[in-house]
Symmetry: D3
């Protein structure tokens, strides 16, 4: 996680490979992602923060990097990130504390 940018790039390279290997599944998955992060009652930035909170709660490090970065690109600020991390900690206890600390580190090093 200390090399957030490098790890994020490696993740994106792998995503291209799996998209080429399973094109129809991945095309539909991308469409789900697009709909799930579109502006609505929640903004795109907020939705990417929700995806970040879920990533923390389930302990998926690549997901944390990916969605924290996406939230940031949509304009999310650190206060809003911290709020969703607090919900994740409520819902995930000690392990969520560990992954929330990685999400915060990723947010700060990807700025």
């Amino acid at each position: 996680m200390s090399n957030a940018k490098e790890n994020l790039n490696a993740t994106k390279t792998r995503l291209i490979a799996i998209s080429n290997a399973a094109p129809e599944v991945m095309r539909n998955f991308s469409q789900i992602s697009k709909v799930a992060s579109s502006n609505g009652s929640f903004s795109s930035a907020q939705k990417e923060l929700i995806a970040s909170a879920i990533s923390v709660a389930i302990g998926c490090e690549d997901c944390i990097l990916y969605h924290v970065n996406a939230a940031q690109r949509h304009g999310a600020d650190e206060n809003a990130l911290i709020e969703v991390l607090e919900v994740a900690i409520e819902m995930g206890g000690g392990p969520a504390v560990m992954y929330a600390s990685k999400a915060l580190e990723a947010f700060r090093s990807l700025t």
Copy 2:
């Protein structure tokens, strides 16, 4: 889930029992819940919806009932619920579809 109100009441009765059995741990947990669902960048209703989405992603049925109900009491509407369920489905695939359908059913039967 078809008896959402009854199950929610049974859950709340159990929560009283565990709070009496482990008072110090539960007092601190309640404080975390209170902070995590306070108004901020996200409203309390939105934060309870985020907790609902995490509940769906991890498949905790009592949590779904509890947080969907709390979101509703804070004024969340069905459109906002559906948006967070879409994020949960993006992050949880088929099992999240199953639990999202229970969250929607709970929301409608608890109204």
Copy 3:
């Protein structure tokens, strides 16, 4: 689980409701399911058994009912089910034993 048919029907009713509530996400998810269970190196029946094994490993009871039923409709026999349940137990220990026993019960009562 003792009322497998009834529970499966309730699940399918809920799936219709979530499909109406989140049509675009669910249309793409259905397409993923369709591709993921199409005939290939593995038959459709085998792929639904793999989905059953994953359902057991992650402890999603609605998913167990749904995919065991789908495997059965595609012609899977009990011996093949038991083999994938053994892999699920290898990968999930005691909890997988519990859910594998529910998958077996569902398979037998849905026949």
Copy 4:
């Protein structure tokens, strides 16, 4: 969970069925269980409480019933149960609170 004895009996019936269906896997699994719950630095009762705490942390209701019952049969008292439930809540947050409350209810109704 309100019918703990009935649910535990149904679980045990299913365990017999899966043991007959997958005899070699289940024989080895039973041996693991036997070794893992034998007296050592921790007593058998304590080890079944540890299995109960893990069951709570991962949200497996049948496992909760099974291991809480086994702990009780080995002589575990409620204070010791509550202590491991506190560790489970530390490690599992809100969902663990829900399942811990079920473990406590099971312990009391199975006495």
Copy 5:
């Protein structure tokens, strides 16, 4: 994951250490693994692919390396791997996409 061979070797070294530390539990676990991956309705290669799919769905990176490697040694080809990864993505959403991409990378770099 970029150093799949190195990581796999480190995993195997750790497995020897835990096998020496907990010999009876590990002997029975190895027996379960042997039975669960024996030829039957599914071939050994297919069963290791199923274990790989479960590993992806639950996000265990060492398991991905171990079972993808075992599948490969039993003669699994990439098309069959991709099919089980599609089922894993159906059952695990975004996080499964991330881990599936690691399984694919491992398969290619371990060849």
Copy 6:
């Protein structure tokens, strides 16, 4: 995990950052941890081993490092660690074997 001390230090640095970012949530969480690991029917060392076993069962590597280290500082010996790892393997199958081997490695390299 081969650099257990270094990784543990990085984890502790991140924990300070998240504690500063979410002070009220983290203060209450620390209080839960303190109560959950206090001497009682189980000693503090035993309770940290239980937290280690849960960490193994759910696959949280930072948690493994943190709680194995805490158990060690409270005087836990390797035999007691191995016993809880056996329970974790009973409850978690193959993935727990992988994470148990990391817990053992961490215990030995942090001594």
